[in-house]
Amino acid sequence: MTPDVSSDAVIERHGLTREEFEKIVGMLGRQPTLTELGIFSVMWSEHCSYKSSRVHLKTLPTTGPRVLQGPGENAGAVDIGDGLAAVFKIESHNHPSFIEPYQGAATGVGGIIRDIFTMGARPIALLNSLRFGELDSPLVRRNMAGVVAGIAGYGNSIGIPTVGGEIAFDESYAGNPLVNVFCLGISKADEIIKGVASGVGNAVFYVGSKTGRDGIHGATMASAEFDEKSAEKRPAVQVGDPFMEKLLLEACLEVMKTDALVGIQDMGAAGLTCSTCEMGARGGAGVEIDVSLVPQRETGMTPYEIMLSESQERMLLVAKPGREAEVQAIFEKWDLHAVHIGTVTPDGLLRVKERGTVVAEIPNTALTDEAPLYRRPYSEPDYLREAQQLSLAELGTPAPAAEVLRRLLASPTVASKRWVYRQYDHMVRTNTLVMPGMGAGVVRIKDTTRALALSVDCNGRFVYLDPFVGAQLAVAEAARNVACAGALPIGATNCLNFGNPQKPDIMWQFVRAVEGMGAACRALDIPITGGNVSLYNETDGRGVLPTPVLGVVGLIEDASRVVRRPFQAAGDAVLLLGSSANELGGSEYLKTIHGLIRGVPPALDLQREAALQRVLVAGAAQGLFKSAHDCAEGGVAVTLAECCFGGTPGADADLPRVATGVPGFDDIATLFGESASRAVVSVAAGHEQAALQLAQGQGVPAVVIGRVGGGRVRLSAGGRAVVDEPVEALERIWDGAIGQRFERQQTVA
């Protein structure tokens, strides 16, 4: 039975509007077949077409002297010297990870790895940025345990280290976790491979896993909100096979060395559909395939199902004429079979046949460049003015500083993520110079003197309270994290996680965040070479905190000069770079102690931020800084405590007092305020002046606040002692906070 493709029910089931359907009819000059409708539905989904976001994304800075590949390919690439390129990208797998945590997260890792090796780069590092609800909820713990196990299961097996990342917790993510996965690979700068199909008559090959019915309409699913029926969508989640991907990875890299390929692309979202039309569109050519030649896992699959399947671990490639046997032989070595399923044509069409009969014929550009583009209406949300009001006086008498510090260190957002990252193989490939949990992850580049520092960051509370400033703060923090390691930020990739863009207040958050991100990246001279947008992150109409995550890649010229977080030796001087103000808006303090997300985020002066980062990079390159750590959630008190963890001799520091005008709150603002553009560094005794002069030269406020040593975390505010705790006692709280929540779960279960 053939359904009436023009019926409201069929159109709605494909996530299309009546207007979009009419546009399809106009482009084809006829009614689409059901297969064609399916193809349009996935290519015009928000996930593939960026129809709500594209006009805004175009405003982001994407060029620079180091940029070898900007947005539009499978991943971006920047020049890192020695004739090498860093190829990297971040992508979300939020929706699948809510429905099926393990496989959703695992296939997210698999997808981003394919994006990197598709470009001819060997993947050498993974990071992830995760958001979950509060861990008090057993459902959240189950979700988080599944996501972490899924990331581990895939990354560990394929042998790519997970070297860093970040995790934050907020109630808004309870029904809609965020799973953003970043991958970085290294290739020769002049051997980057593109996803193009060209050369009329060239053979199109399919290689990898067989096609099954899994994941059909995954891209459409990722473009809709969740509701009570979400569990019914489980068949739309794919199942990962890291072993197959490992074989594909090694075989593809081996094939690429031969120069026998015209182009290659992985089949991710929208599977065979996306890879065929995008490769054709990029090459200005057409692609014709016969689905009956596609290796299939199940019998009786229709062209519709084959074209829309999102079965994992599949690649599409175009071989140079006369080189086909060579390509096939390499895949055979790895027990893979490159199957000839079609050819490149001159007509610019995606033509799908089934045993010779045409079942779909669509201009590639109708699916790509000419996909709908929306300028969605946006307006400032009603919540904003109210949420930005913060009166410290109404919070009552604050708890003693030491107690606040202990509670902040136990907050899962601040606490050690060791329970998580020790499930990830973070050392395989023997490049990891800075392990997870220590700020930016750092990997060396073998056969060079260089290293790369990698960080992914975003504080959703700041973005919620002011999307423009909040997104700028995300850029600043990610870049500052790599600068602390001594790395010059040279490129970025973004993953923009927001709610339903058809709501004007959500769209406003999105638009303002993109503007802020663009402004910050321009000021800090960090091009964004690609990324991903994830919209409709809502459950039952409630959106997540707007979370525009930025992943920054930083270059360290001399890998032996990497700066780490822990204090080094008793007697070293501790310096605070940057200035502190009465800025508790959106802070971890307000959330953890008072359960509030209120106020305005800390002010950010981008020129000051750039200056601070120059100081951090220069201090590292000169070998002046013995440790460095930025100030973020929990303020300078948490920063200093974390610098004392990991077997250090402790520290004694007196912080410049911040005045609030509210009795009792000066200590709180001094210790736990989250003013931007600050870092704590340590230098050897006698090098204080050199450090102060370095900062002064860049116009960065700097002050010696104390000394390493004493075995305790001793903090004063304006000369008055406020915290005096043994390092081990604080470290035990910080280190065990997350693991304990899961152990409790086990004893209950």
């Binding site: 560990n156 097996s157 072993f243 499930q423």
Partner: protein, 246 residues
């Protein structure tokens, strides 16, 4: 001296082992694909870490059937030094070249972290440069490293001095806390009766440079070089790695 690094489909520490031998130890190294039937003129064999054949069945259960394993067995039977690291250890267990089996970690989680192991005996090709009782800090990275053997087998291993490495705390004490996976008798690695086949769960190849957090593992590779130099007639030790592909 030449080390052959066997590459199974799914091996992922093969490059790390190669790099440690080639770039840190500065000895000959070559890869041998699992479908090959000869180790060539290798002087020592490393079965590297990873997930051979995906390890969807028991770890190492498929790899033991790879064509190269027949020659690994021949090499071992002839007294050649064989080192199985992590997944390589699991393959040696499945192949019957070492006794016992692996269970899932008692935490039920994959664990990646630095641990301490104590060298129990130094009369093997991979421990002879160690001190007896020396504590080595090396990383582990496995989900199935919970070594198990029947009590009589463990007693036999102890009597035969085949337990080569034991999980300990930083001070070298055999404690429950120092045991990361629940292995019986804190066993981290062992050797066969002839003492030339050695398997362990920690990764010495990841602990060959201080920049990576520890260089304690290098002594195991240096042991092999010393063992080989003592055994081999002069001139043989400097053969090129001609038959091995790089």
């Amino acid at each position: 001296m030449k080390f052959a690094v066997v590459v199974f489909p799914g091996s992922n520490c093969d490059h790390d082992a190669y790099y440690a031998v080639d770039q840190v130890l500065r000895e000959g190294a070559g890869f041998v694909w699992h479908k090959e039937t000869s180790l060539g003129d290798a002087d020592a064999v490393i079965l590297p870490g990873g997930f051979a054949h995906g390890d969807y069945l028991r770890t190492g259960a498929i790899a033991r059937f790879s064509p190269i394993m027949a020659d690994v067995r021949r090499f071992a039977d002839a007294g050649g030094p064989v080192l199985g690291i992590c997944n390589g250890f699991q393959v040696l267990l499945e192949a019957g070249l070492l006794p016992g089996a692996m269970l899932r970690n008692d935490s039920l989680h994959f664990r990646c972290e630095h641990v301490h192991v104590r060298v129990e005996h130094t009369d093997t090709p991979f421990t002879e440069a160690c001190r007896q009782g020396q504590v080595l800090r090396m990383p582990i990275a496995h989900g199935e490293g919970n070594y198990y053997a029947e009590p009589d087998v463990v007693a036999h291993l102890e009597r035969n001095r085949q337990v080569l490495f034991r999980y300990v705390d930083a001070a070298g004490r055999e404690t429950a806390d120092g045991n990361p996976n629940g292995s019986v008798a804190n066993i981290a690695g062992l050797c066969n009766e002839a003492r030339n086949v050695v398997g362990l769960m920690p990764h010495p190849e990841r602990a060959c440079e201080l920049a990576l957090g520890s260089a304690d593992g290098l002594v195991m590779l240096q042991s092999a070089v010393r063992w080989f130099a003592r055994r081999a007639p002069a001139g043989v030790a400097v053969r090129g790695a001609s038959s091995l592909s790089a």
